[in-house]
């Protein structure tokens, strides 16, 4: 049985009105920004289910923009997120969308920075907790509890073992490991959730593996 956190009950400290529709939405926006790894310049936000139906009452839209601007769920600037986005040069658009058989509080965010872009889909699953279930078309399950190493690589034998060897050498323990691909032999994705932060040197070593085309680390969020 999981231990219930004292500050999950007497807390979290958050900007209202709803932990699932406001606080969780801030975290989803923030997750997209952290995954992008730089300032978001343009965002296309698609709201699914209950998010699309009740966003206005719980300010899910404002909360998502706040997260994209880098705010956490207790940031008192959240109510002013739209004007702050304007000042920061963040362009955004909202639409309703059917993301399929997913949690009712779900969103798909296409976030574009000055050099890079990501598409992140995630759900707010209650009490401010979130789950990212799709990253650039790859199925994942990230809740922001752990550090994450993410690689895109060519689907060849031995790549996974090379990557995990680097983590082992740096003394990093893997809590969860997911591997997926779209087509055999083409683009694949590795997602390791670790108990320890991943140092830049480890990232550099992973980057040098010939089949690896992209490496990214995610902090907890």
């Amino acid at each position: 049985m999981a231990q219930i956190g004292l500050f999950d009950i007497v807390g979290p400290i958050m900007v209202g009105p709803s932990s699932s529709h406001t606080a969780g939405a801030v975290r989803l926006g923030l997750a997209a920004r952290k995954i992008l790894g730089s300032e978001v310049k343009r965002a296309k936000i698609e709201l699914h289910g209950s998010f699309a139906a009740t966003y206005w009452g719980h300010r899910t839209d404002v909360a998502l923009i706040a997260g994209l601007l880098g705010m956490g769920m207790d940031d008192e600037r959240i109510p002013r997120a739209r004007e702050l986005a304007h000042a920061a040069g963040l362009e955004y658009s909202f639409a309703a969308a059917d993301l399929g058989d997913v949690h009712p509080n779900s969103v798909r965010i296409y976030a574009q920075g000055s050099a890079d872009a990501v598409t992140v889909s995630g759900s707010s699953i209650g009490g401010g907790r979130i789950n990212i279930f799709d990253l650039d078309g790859f199925e994942v399950a990230v809740d922001g509890t752990y550090w994450v190493l993410l690689t895109k690589h060519r689907d060849r034998p031995g790549v996974i073992s090379e990557v995990t060897k680097v983590l082992a050498v740096h003394g990093i323990n893997i809590a969860f490991l997911d591997v997926s691909r779209k087509t055999r032999g083409l683009d694949a994705l590795l997602l390791a959730q670790t108990d320890d932060p991943i140092p830049d040197l480890a990232v550099e070593h992973v980057r040098r593996i010939p089949e690896v085309t992209a490496v990214r680390t995610l902090p907890c969020f």
Binding site: V10, G11, G16, T22, P79
Partner: protein, 293 residues
Amino acid sequence: MQITSAGQLLELCAQRAQGLARVVAEYEAFRSSITVQEVRERMGETLQVMRVSVEKGREDQGRLSHLINGYGRLFEQAGREGRLLGGSLFRNAILYALSVGQYNASLGRIVACPTAGSCGVVPGALLAAAEELESSDEELIEALLVMGGVGIVSAAQGPISGAEGGCQAECGVASSMAAAAVVNLAGGSPEQVFSAASLALQSHLGLVCDPLASLVEVPCVTRNATSAAVALSAANMALAGIPAVVPYDEVVGAMKAIGRAMPESLRETSLGGLAATPTGKRLAQEMRERHQL
């Protein structure tokens, strides 16, 4: 170290010859790899956020809320003009709970306790009682730790969301936590702490979650205030030695069973109860038309 029920938590206290607050602090310290002192400091920060949310909520004009506005201000003004009944404890509990609920609806920074929808109950009852008792911050932190223990055993055995258990699982659990905290602050025994929690939750059993127009406003904000008043009543009865008869763990079990028997329309879907009244439907329709995506 685990905290699974009120009975087991009281046993832990007896085994370790420690008070409830100390056991809860050690539990959290162990769980999150920090020191007991750091747990207490973090609780002190939480207390501070509660206080600020009361102060800001009292002044809130409801610019960002939809169906309610300025509830704290209205209540405070009536008190100043001598139009209200009761002493300062009772009146302040209502005022503080309304203020925090109003502030939450206005995108203010609050402590979800245990949820955002029930965030006014604990600051309402506890901060009003602390003023009457002239409690120190250290005593308040103790009370918040004890109350956290009550919240943890509630969450370990039952729902704490309106979607799962109705409002009894939000304002009801918040009220039992608040009653427990007040008893601890007033010097009651650990047994009285859980009697108060039990009595408060008993008075919320069956309460449905039926907010108008899917907002956290009507009836949530005024319900926070009544739940704070129930917490004070339960605390006083427990301090008088009136027994809860049914132990807290069993009341949480009853709440869980009632939540399961509740139709989905009465669990935060805004399809039943007050949300389905002619007024509820009209307001929801007006809101929808104003905010078409």
